[in-house]
Symmetry: C2
Subunit: 491 residues, 2 copies
């Protein structure tokens, strides 16, 4: 029922203010002065984030993918193999005067002045972005190279999936292709994070790793389902870099997107973002330039969201990792990461052994959370007043409905409590509110995206009916209490 | 439909074997030789763990509690305040010969021999059990005391809730009591972990922090609902330490359980464990002895599960943390952690300011997962064969139903695929299997706890009916395809 375009979009700082005031998002450790790059999700934020994750999980499980859960901490050897110890780095500069460190990127370059005190900057070398720790009790200094007791917090959830590849293959009865998903924390020890949710040191990723026969990458069994989906794409340098509208089918056919598997998963990302309510007009897919590609990637596309505050920002990456990771782990661990391919699938006379390729959609859940908040918040004039309204889809809203007694009278409050309890007993997440004028209570729910407000009045006491008011249209209908549940569940 | 007592219970090592073979639980980093204290959840394990977490979340949200999500990493200052830097420690001994470290506990004490090589042991001091890391780029050695850049992985999720207390109070409109929940990873850098899932270095906790007026602890508004629940309890030393059966009401009345809030939440833990299917006969509540209590606790009860493998093991702790944490953070951060109590609630003439007390049920999800596996696995004789069956409650089972073609014929496989897809489209998590004899396929599903197997045969092609076979009774019924969904959803 969202009437897009109605009301003007709310300015950027109001999102941060609303998120803080209403319990979506809080700077972590604030009573101790905070620490850059760390945020906590408050009650409404955690609820919204959970909804994003649940929809994501269902979305990929419907593809037949299974979820696994691997550890946040891993020994150093794994990241030696994966290449993160060598390549997951940023260049830093240090201020000669105040000794602050900065990441070399965008606005801060060597020979510019210190953003903190104006002092002179000098190169401070390359820093690995993984958080390091130590597993167990130190055993002296006798070890050399990467010590077994050196641990790191994972920079992506993917490695935990690759390490279990053989078992997962067996779970899938030795057949390709198959997909595995994981949702969990990942960590990046940023040198000088500034941009709120956009550059976090601890964040949530939702990743799918799709293992495929390299010779079958151009033959996705459900490509037909997505091929006509129109995408806004920005091809890499080879194509001139301009933005264009193309169907997934055309983009794969013309070679802009390298293969059907990659194309299929780019389309799925687009579908998911639409499903949770990110406006399609604010999403595009940009191909990485060669020099910005991660060390493991053969090709990579970012789903970008057009933020009023940050401009185009990456919210999902879809990479073709080739056989990089499985080959690296095979070589470092001596484990056999190959698959016996069926003779017919290969068009070969004899069965062959191959290392699968990996297609990886990798979602930044915190950024998607931000994109959803920013693109859902509107301000509009209602009579003489302004109202803020968070136009979340009903299935995403942290609170499904609020129950109000029209007036602050005991008999109405008692009845409202009953209706509230009845809905909660039916596992519908509702809130009760009897404080302030009814108009004020509507506004409170509007700005947190609650799709329905249910009001109990004196008529209710006579005939067991209530009014249900819809958030976007502000229209009210009178409904029997016995039917309220069905109305809320249906929509 | 579980017929408890039928079939004999399966010996302990078979659980680990099944968990590994069928994709419930895998030792982490195995291709690199593994690392003690770290496990990964495979596809079926992650699914079962998720069900435990979802039921837990719903259970406490029905209490009116809100969930939040705070960071895994936190600066050192927080754990200075919380007391973990000083008190979250174990004594270690080191072997003079092989240099292995061991935790001083149970079987390993100073003057005994090294469990690894038989060498002589000596005291090696006290080790803090938090994983340490460094946030951002090191800024030289000029800092003193706990450096701002020193970070730790949280040893419990609770501190993240305490740090946000003021905001959470405001979210609850400045009223007590209220409850906040969190599910997430916690970490404990064990000196020498050995016992699989029982002593992990990285684990999942589900915690509720209930903030209450200290003068209201003996007046829980819903105590009536739980007071007649019978518990098997082991009071601390003051009571002689014997096991007894008592109702929650009696235990509170006689002072064995200190107050109604603590009693209410002990009863809720018992209810939750029963809800997910842990047999009541295998659960007891044991009060901590004074010397084993955590540094923050005034009183603490463990819900213990009687494991065939490990004996009585803690799976949940319910602690009265008093005002320890809020007072500590108030004092270290200078934040105001007090609440204006209502005059009438206090029986005082004037409103007073108070620091709330905290009642905390704290669940170890991995141990509950293990307890559920162990207590659900049975082996029984069926004709001449033995079958293993995982008698999980239907709502907990990783896979809700499996769909089989009776024979390996194209027309049956096609129809079975259709039924499979139809159920999956209805968001029911089903599996398809056409490999091996039907008996073998039943056994495969039995041992992972799938409650229903749906078989497509030649009759299906004629009249669109299938057989549904129930796991525990092994009885089969014939049902129209159109009704299968309802049958599965209902049970």
């Amino acid at each position: 029922m969202t009437s897009a375009g109605r009301g003007k979009e709310v300015k950027k700082d109001e999102i941060a203010e609303l998120a803080r005031r209403r319990g979506f998002l809080w700077q972590a450790f604030e009573i101790y002065g905070g620490a850059a790059g760390f945020y906590d999700y408050g009650p409404l934020g955690a609820q919204l984030k959970r909804r994003i994750e649940e929809v994501w999980r269902d979305f990929y499980m419907m593809e037949g993918f299974y979820e696994i859960e691997t550890t946040n901490i891993a020994p150093g050897g794994i990241f030696e193999a994966s290449g993160h110890l060598e390549s997951f780095t940023d260049q830093a500069v240090v201020c000669k005067h105040c000794k602050s460190f900065f990441r070399v990127a965008g606005s801060v370059k060597v020979r510019e002045k210190c953003p903190a005190c104006g002092g002179e900057l000098e190169a401070a070398g390359e820093f690995n972005l993984m958080f390091q720790t130590r597993i167990g009790v130190p055993k002296g200094d006798s070890d050399s190279g990467v010590k077994k007791s050196e641990g790191y917090l994972r920079p992506e959830t993917a490695q935990g999936i690759f390490l279990n590849f053989q078992r997962l293959l067996r779970f899938n009865r030795d057949k390709l292709p198959f997909g595995i998903i994981q949702i969990g924390k990942a960590y990046r020890n940023e040198i000088s994070p500034r941009k709120s949710l956009i550059r976090l040191r601890e964040f949530t990723m939702a990743e799918a790793e799709v293992f495929v026969d390299p010779k079958g990458k151009n033959n996705h069994p459900r490509f037909e389902d997505v091929k006509d989906r129109m995408l806004r794409i920005v091809p890499g340098e080879g194509e001139g870099g301009g933005e264009e509208e193309k169907s997934v089918g055309e983009a794969v056919k013309s070679g802009i997107i390298a293969n059907e598997y990659l194309g299929y998963h780019i389309a799925k990302v687009d579908e998911f973002l639409e499903r949770i309510g990110i406006p399609r007009a604010k999403v595009r897919f940009r191909q990485h330039l060669r020099e910005e590609m991660a060390h493991y990637a053969r090709d990579c596309w970012d789903a970008e969201f057009l933020s009023e505050r940050y401009g185009w920002m990456e919210i999902v990456g879809v990479a073709d990792r080739g056989d990089y990771d499985l080959s690296a782990h095979a070589s470092f661990s001596n484990a056999d990461m190959s698959v016996h391919a069926q003779a017919d699938a290969q068009g070969e006379a004899e069965p062959v052994k191959l290392i699968p390729h990996v297609i990886e959609p990798s979602y930044g859940i915190d950024r998607i959370f931000y994109a959803l908040l920013e693109s859902s918040l509107y301000e509009e004039q209602v009579g003489k007043e302004k109202r803020k309204v968070l136009r979340l889809k009903s299935e995403m809203a942290p609170i499904k409905a609020a129950v109000f007694p029209l007036l602050n009278r005991d008999e109405l409050k008692k009845k409202a409590r009953e209706v509230f309890q009845k809905l909660r007993d039916a596992s519908i997440f509702v809130e009760y509110d009897d404080s302030g004028s009814i108009g004020r209570r509507y506004r409170r729910q509007d700005e947190i995206g609650t799709p329905y407000c249910i009001t109990i009045d004196y008529e209710t006491l006579e005939d067991d009916t209530v009014t249900i008011r819809e958030r976007d249209t502000m229209k009210q209908v009178r409904v029997a209490i016995a039917e309220v549940k069905d109305v809320l569940v249906k929509v």
